[in-house]
Symmetry: C2
Subunit: 367 residues, 2 copies
């Protein structure tokens, strides 16, 4: 094990067994990167990189299968699944993500635990393993920011947040980088979670914002932009009523990630432009699973970003971003962090795969 010198991580040239090392970024390493770059600069760069990735996204070159995994009721409700991506010739990225809503109460752990692995398709070598929890939060906030930039009224000032757990922090962060927000109305079914929200976003330096707890009905009647990021149980959605909405309301529906789980009223979806991050997956796990007529699903976010003028008229209408999580976002976030790891020489290179110069002998490494 050696500490990382100046090495290009993402495009590591596979040479021989002696170079077969995997970059492992610990939480400490990520902290070092965030402290060096700054949270705002990191979010801004994430948004910029993700816009560029959407513009360049070519499904013929980057294959993104629907995630698969294991979901279960015992010992607690949860799932562990894999979100793979293959950018031909360049990189394979697999995010393993666990969703266990009882983690906070039972284990004092976040609901989402995650790691991301990158492989070199030339040889199959595992080039890097990094935390996916922070990265997922960051990219989910960035994706909503991009969708909102394209689909919400540009002078939106009032943000509503229904569910103000971990995801709400990055939703607000991303949006605050793109909109001149004045007021944030928040609700969480757990009052203790609402109460800590201001404290939790203190690091974002948004002191000018008027942040108020409010009833759901008041939030939806007032908000220009609404983010739902709840752990609503399967079959218990939607999480807000379809009444008294501003006619230009844009919703970022972030919570749905499970068959049967959804947050947005069907009647609102039916008269909105619904923009999924990843259509095929949104139909299975997102708000789109409510739409029996698949024709009523709008373009994916990558298409909206490619042709912004074509979608600008929706900024004065109801729009819903159906965010289920898209592996391209994880790839972009991972590569940004790996680039900073290289630049700042953080991370640990570990020889994890047993390979020696004598490739035809699986035991030679012990001799």
């Amino acid at each position: 094990m050696v500490s990382l010198a100046q090495t290009s991580v993402v495009n590591t040239v596979v040479g021989s067994a002696s170079q077969l090392q995997t970059l492992v970024l610990s939480v400490e390493d990520t902290r070092h990167i965030v402290e060096h770059v700054g949270l705002d600069a990191l979010m801004d760069e994430m948004i910029a990189r993700l816009i560029q990735a959407f513009e360049q996204f070519d499904p013929a070159q980057t294959v993104v299968p629907v995630r698969t995994g294991f979901s279960y009721e015992q010992p607690h409700v949860g799932l562990v699944e894999w979100m793979p991506l293959f950018e031909k010739h360049r990189q394979i990225v697999v995010k393993a993500v666990g969703y266990h809503p009882q983690n906070p109460s039972l284990y004092k752990l976040p609901t989402v635990l995650s790691t991301v692995s990158a492989y070199d398709p030339k040889s199959g070598h595992l080039t890097a393993v990094i935390d996916g929890t922070f990265l997922t939060a960051l990219r989910t906030g960035a994706a909503s920011a991009i969708a909102t930039q394209h689909l919400a009224s540009p002078d939106s000032q009032i943000l509503g947040l229904i569910g103000v757990g971990a995801q709400a922090v990055t939703q607000l962060h991303g949006l605050s980088r793109c909109f001149d927000l004045k007021q944030v109305l928040i609700f969480d079914r757990d009052p203790a979670v609402s109460q800590t929200f201001t404290e939790r976003i203190a690091c974002l330096g948004l002191d000018h914002l008027d942040i108020c707890q409010a009833e759901i009905s008041d939030i939806v009647a007032t908000a220009d932009i609404l983010c739902t990021a709840t752990s609503v149980d399967v079959g218990h959605g939607p999480v807000f009523p379809d009444q008294s909405l501003k006619p230009w309301l844009h919703v970022n529906a972030v919570g749905a990630d499970f068959p049967g789980k959804f947050e947005v009223p069907l009647s609102l979806l039916e008269r909105s432009f619904v923009c999924p991050d990843f259509r095929e997956q949104a139909i299975c796990e997102g708000e789109c699973q409510q739409l029996k007529d698949l024709k009523s699903i709008g373009s994916e976010l990558s298409n909206v970003v490619k042709n912004p003028a074509q979608y600008r008229h929706y900024q004065q209408r109801f729009t819903v971003f159906d965010s289920t999580g898209f592996a391209l976002e994880d790839q972009v976030a991972m590569n940004m962090l790996l680039d900073y790891a290289t630049e700042l020489s953080v991370g640990t290179l570990i020889k994890l795969e047993s390979a020696t110069a004598e490739v035809k002998n699986p035991y030679s490494f012990v001799l």
Copy 2:
């Protein structure tokens, strides 16, 4: 990052964020374990643990989906895929495995590169990441040894090896622990590979064995047990002719792991008891893909091990073990190595997943 003290790895009790560490076993760590335990003892224990796992295997408790992944022709022929396993309540194991037949010639790397990850289904926590290359070699040898023990003639003395790359080393190793072998007849289409075989198995201490290079026709006419472990190209099988075989020949067909790739003549399969490691996968990627009549596929190895008496009469008939790789074998091998890592205090604990006491703030770990 701290070095591993005496901690139970496999059954780590998830406590709180401060305990959320992942055990990473480097190649050095694995080497330490192998040197301490010894290759023969490790293979013997692998065989014993795998027999026990087969005996206890309950598909209702341990879910093993068919592997999925990406396969491609460019920049070189290859695939990277994931073999997941979920033992309910206890463990999720995912092996990532790359198969790139040009690795040895292009990069001086093994054809197979692999890592294995284990997750705690209580919280989704990644408990361990270890090399999968050595582990795959070991468990593939052990699986063939177990199949051969159950299905070959007990006094088999002559082993034929067609394809004597990395896999052949562990095939011979596993079989040498269960049979009183006298002679090994070897063939590889690359003479350079044949020439180094004796040298590569020197670590096995099998000096009493008569190891001879031979033509394929002589090998199949003489062998009691035959192992095929080739990188035959798709559509170019079988790798030996169906002629002059001993009527009790047992074949371990190890190479097939790709749609269209197979090693055993169909005519031999049709008059053999064909025992797949994992039926559903063998039908897609193994020798079983040649058998259009699925009824002609025999029981899986786990069933044979559960009811040995029922299958003993096949020891005097043609039998084929269709080994495509079964995630249960990987789980058993991983847990054996993790148990030794605990016992010997090797490995590195890394805090890889960003989680802090403040579970509702994805940014709190940087504050």
